[in-house]
Amino acid sequence: MEKTFNLIVNGIGGQGVITLLTFIDQAAMVQGYDVRSSELHGLSQRGGSVETHIRFGKKINSPLIPNGKADLIISSELLEGLRETEKSGKQTKFLVNDFIFPFQGSLSAEEIKKQFSLNKNEIHIIPASQVCKEKLQNEIVSTVYSLGYAVAKNLIPIKKESVLKAIDEIVPEKYKKLNINAFELGYAS
């Protein structure tokens, strides 16, 4: 891979955004890439918008992705996904969990999807939360499901084996199976 791959993973505090970031960081390292990522903790994690940046490639300088330079957005909530369209470039692809976490003054899922449809970027809206809830009784792994989908559809230059290796290396034993199952479900979808 010649060019740096720029990935924004976002969502709402508590949705497992940072866990997914650690999987992707590790998988990128497994593939021999230089990797640098940036995350936010604290106040922003309490139900607010959380945006994390992951960059991998030959040599990474800054941990922050400049506006317009993201190659892929993985968003675990509809409105947070839509928010990224404000600073996306032409090449930016979107992978958005069909899930809404409403608040006072929020937009409806229909309205958000309508706004997405006006966008010319490649957009995938997938039922990650719904499937994980139904088949795994656990919504928190929906971000891992999304990663499985992204890998299967070549939205990200990361191989399946690298992700499985990453999960094996960093997830505690008792949660390994759950995470692998979520990944496989997304991969096969």
């Binding site: 940036s38 903790h41 604290g42 106040l43 608040f103 003054g105």
Partner: protein, 542 residues
């Protein structure tokens, strides 16, 4: 060994490799993972780790450890250094015995800091303590080690100043394995060195100034201040995370300029800087927040009678964090490179702010108080999860400052405007941190605000750290469980009620009753943090 590490994790590893034996601090964002990580692995490595009641107490205990011959690390967020500064300044005078690194984590752009966008580097000038400014997890590791080396060599504490994008950056870090050490301290009396008392104090000041001269000579030779790039008329001086943005910007603009990267913020390698800027026509100083370096370098250039033009905050923002784009814009003004910043769009999407978690006990407190308090009641907020009371849908707080301040300020309001009702909120962690002092003041000086301590049984906001009200230490040992109501009673508060706010009727009646009191009153709303309760439940079922 090589592994992906968070900046904060790299600091922990470097401390172990440097032979740290005593770790203390106070949790805050973006430094909390340091103390948390030590909490998990200190014991098995023969190291003592604790969270202190506040940053001042933390530093004081590290001073005791250092004087007893143990290497120590103190961790805190930006505002922590304000709290501990009273002990920090005399520590510069006495110096340390065993090495000490003080990690202070700033938060440009205030991602998780309410009270101010603080640039803690300024403390270098007030305290005359060396400050190192890393840019990446690898530098967090390397600089921590060098910090211990400097501290041991010159008997002075060293401040490692990080920022959010450095502390919460993950990247590959090369690190060494460490051996378990189990060092016991021994305090050897030396009041000449350990007690500040005039006329000795002024002697100590001169000793400190001498030390700084030597450290300046050390900084001149240090590889922490390094030059890269090719000679040109335009040069760059950068420090901290800004350096990484500079590398990115140079690549983006296809520029090859000389860059002096300063790892030392204080003392500065003045000769190295002069040598670097001498052949330049223009130099751009790139630092986040305050223009400390810029001012220093302007002075240096003036004294050395150099003709170089110095740019900095005239073309870069003082407020908010920097990024590669902002650096590109600034560089395009000094070079012939054209750069057009990316045009973001604004779809006026509703903003999502932080909010109380599902099942949070504070849901049973804030709306009830808002509904029942008489028209015009003044609400004071504090730091921690209760800050969310300032945001919609609550939008309650009429003032909000720093740790433990809600009660201190409410006392001042009551004294100034006795007919207005004031309710001050704070969490259990904040109460132990510094709320107690304000409470004592209010009792002693005969004030009558209503204090509500929202005791959710943990220091929640910064990631669930133990506090003195929990009966557990950082290393997981059982300890005395301090009772907020007992402390208040001992401090002379007569109207005290402990209740579970889920019992709304009881809470409402107490509120109505206490709002009529002529003396200060306290309601301790005791109910466990919902996230913690769910975790305990989950652990039980596993």
């Amino acid at each position: 060994m090589k592994k992906i590490l968070l900046g904060n994790e790299a600091i922990v590893r470097a401390a172990f490799v440097s032979g740290v034996s005593y770790v203390t601090g106070y949790p805050g964002c973006p430094s909390a993972e340091i103390g948390d990580e030590f909490g998990k692995i200190a014991k098995e490595n023969g190291v003592y780790a604790e969270y202190a009641t506040n940053e001042k107490v933390a530093l004081e205990s590290a001073i005791g450890a250092s004087f007893s011959g143990l290497k120590s690390l103190v961790n805190m967020k930006s505002f922590g250094i304000n709290v501990c500064s009273d002990a920090l300044f005399p520590l510069a005078y006495t110096g340390t015995k065993a090495g000490m690194v003080i990690v202070v984590a700033d938060d440009p752009s205030c991602y998780s800091s309410a009270q101010s966008e603080q640039d803690s580097r300024g403390y270098a000038y007030l305290s005359k303590i060396p400050v190192l400014d890393p840019s990446s997890p690898q530098e967090c590791y390397d600089f921590t080690k060098i910090g211990f080396e400097i501290s041991e060599k010159f008997n002075i504490p060293v401040i490692l100043r990080t920022t959010t994008r450095c502390a919460h950056q993950r990247a590959l870090v090369s690190f060494e394995e460490w051996k378990k050490i189990n060092v016991k301290g021994n305090f050897v009396k030396n009041p000449h060195q350990f007690s500040t008392m005039p006329p000795r104090t002024l002697e100590m000041k001169n000793e400190l100034l001498e030390k700084i001269k030597k450290i300046k000579a050390y900084a001149e030779e240090s590889e922490l201040n390094k030059i890269s790039g090719t000679q040109n008329k335009v040069g760059i001086i950068a420090s901290g995370i800004s350096y990484l943005h500079v590398l990115e910007a140079l690549e983006e603009l296809k520029l090859d300029l000389p860059v002096l990267k300063l790892g030392f913020f204080y003392p500065l390698p003045e000769q190295k800087i002069i040598k670097f800027i001498k052949p330049l026509k223009k130099v751009l100083i790139i630092e986040e927040m305050d223009p400390y370096l810029e001012k220093e370098i302007m002075q240096l250039a003036k004294t050395a009678n150099l003709k170089v033009e110095i740019f900095g905050k005239n073309i870069l923002p003082v407020t908010g964090e920097l990024d590669a784009e902002k650096v590109c814009v600034a560089l395009s003004k000094l070079t012939n490179k054209k750069f057009v910043a990316f045009k973001t769009r604004n779809f006026n999407l509703p903003k999502r702010t932080a909010r109380l978690c599902e099942g949070c006990p504070y849901w049973y407190i804030l709306p009830t108080v808002k509904r029942l308090a008489p028209e015009g009641t003044i609400f004071g907020g504090d730091i921690g999860c209760n800050m969310i009371g300032a945001l919609p849908p609550h939008s309650m707080y009429d003032y909000m400052f720093c740790m433990g301040s809600s009660i201190g300020i409410s006392h001042g309001i009551k004294k100034s405007s006795p007919n207005q009702k004031v309710i001050s909120f704070m969490g259990d962690g904040t109460f132990f941190h510094s709320g107690i002092a304000g409470m004592i003041n209010a009792v002693y000086n005969k004030s009558n605000p209503l204090m509500i301590v929202m005791d959710n049984r943990i220091t929640a906001m910064t990631g669930h750290q133990p506090n003195p009200g929990m009966g557990k230490t950082l290393m997981g040992e059982d300890t005395e469980e301090l009772q907020i109501a007992d402390i208040a009673k001992a401090c002379g508060i007569k109207n005290i009620k402990i209740l579970d706010p889920i019992n709304q009727k009881e809470f409402e009646n107490t509120l109505k009753d206490f709002l009529e009191k002529d003396e200060i009153s306290l309601i301790v709303c005791k109910r466990i943090c919902a996230l913690l309760a769910r975790r305990i439940e989950k652990n039980k079922s596993n």
